[in-house]
Assembly symmetry: C2
Amino acid sequence: MLSILGPNDRADGVLLATGPVRNVSQDQTIYSMSEPAEAILKVVSGMVRTCRFMSNGRRQIDAFHIEGDVFGFEAGAHYSLSAEAVSDCTLVCYRRSDLLSLAARHQGLANQLYLHSIRNLARAHAHACLLGRFSALEKLASFLADESAHSPQREQVTLAMNRTDIADYLGLTVETVSRSLAMLRRSKLIEFSSPREIKLKDLNGLRVLAV
Amino acid sequence: MLSILGPNDRADGVLLATGPVRNVSQDQTIYSMSEPAEAILKVVSGMVRTCRFMSNGRRQIDAFHIEGDVFGFEAGAHYSLSAEAVSDCTLVCYRRSDLLSLAARHQGLANQLYLHSIRNLARAHAHACLLGRFSALEKLASFLADESAHSPQREQVTLAMNRTDIADYLGLTVETVSRSLAMLRRSKLIEFSSPREIKLKDLNGLRVLAV
DNA sequence: CGTCTCCTTGATTGAAATCAACTTAGGTGG
DNA sequence: CCACCTAAGTTGATTTCAATCAAGGAGACG
């Protein structure tokens, strides 16, 4: 499904016309902090990270976006986050101004926009909780449980991102991510076939840890 | 301004009819996590905190809402956060279902709803950054600089919330909040006339610390 | 085969949490 | 109106968890 709308919505065709497909290769920047926030984008395939870069090289990843997710919602005229491709991606781009004027005429679209922004808000709330009050181990357990929910097989996750991305998403360092994963492995909750291929041997145990 | 819409919007009168005013006294719960998310509320006066309670008594405050802020946006059918009055408050309550059906007919309202949700999203992003990557001192400096921005006098803030609220907002303990404030005082960046009355002697210095 | 990047592991340090008093301020009742 | 009581805030000592510093291993690619 390429459009923000469902396939049955009448504005669908219009949207497709306004939304060119964009292919982005791994680690390429989709948009940067402080450039004009002209586009709202939808992930067709691949994974996108939205992140903020701070002084002295610190980075905080706000979210990983996967197929079906819409990102690029901004309150102001400029992006307050950057967006980058975690893996090769296919995206649909909508011009913000087009979308908003279209939404004025198509109720379904307005609803979808609203819904997507609120869904991002809900994720941000859960993320804040994790960042503010979880231990390193809890953060990793929670992260893996979330990944599992989006994986085709519940008990087997293939990480699209590297350890640095995970660290910057969870507010940790790479070393702590590595160590916490090792702890989960030693506790028989997970198992690696490769660093990016993790078998969740005890998903319930993970969920308990994830608070 | 009582309505979500500006006073000049035609849906204004309708909204007022659907939105009864509610007075809430300090520390009273406005709504609780997991109850049906029936209302979206706007702060007329006072301060509201939206927060999540976790196992073993941990709490994360998502945001403090002040006059003009709208809160209660939820992706699902139930609240994922609780809302409580930090001080005595006056709120306007809108039934979510009313609001959404009204929005279908009044473009201005739909826009306002969208805008408020996105504004909350932007705040959540900034907050995530603070929680994930700021030191205790940076968190406090950033917090005070934000408070200053909403204060009638830039250089004088009156905190509506107590130290525990601040700690749970910044992902710290009360002791660390107290110690960090003491450090800022010793560095001549701030000055107390009482624990809740803080004079920002060097707002620029604070902003530098706030990254 | 060597080099580079990514990941892991070890040793040590450091910042914030925890544990424990103590102080101050505010509210209530004598 | 003052004294007491309680809640809120501060400060100190110690511990702990994660960061930092440092090195080594594994896999990918030319």
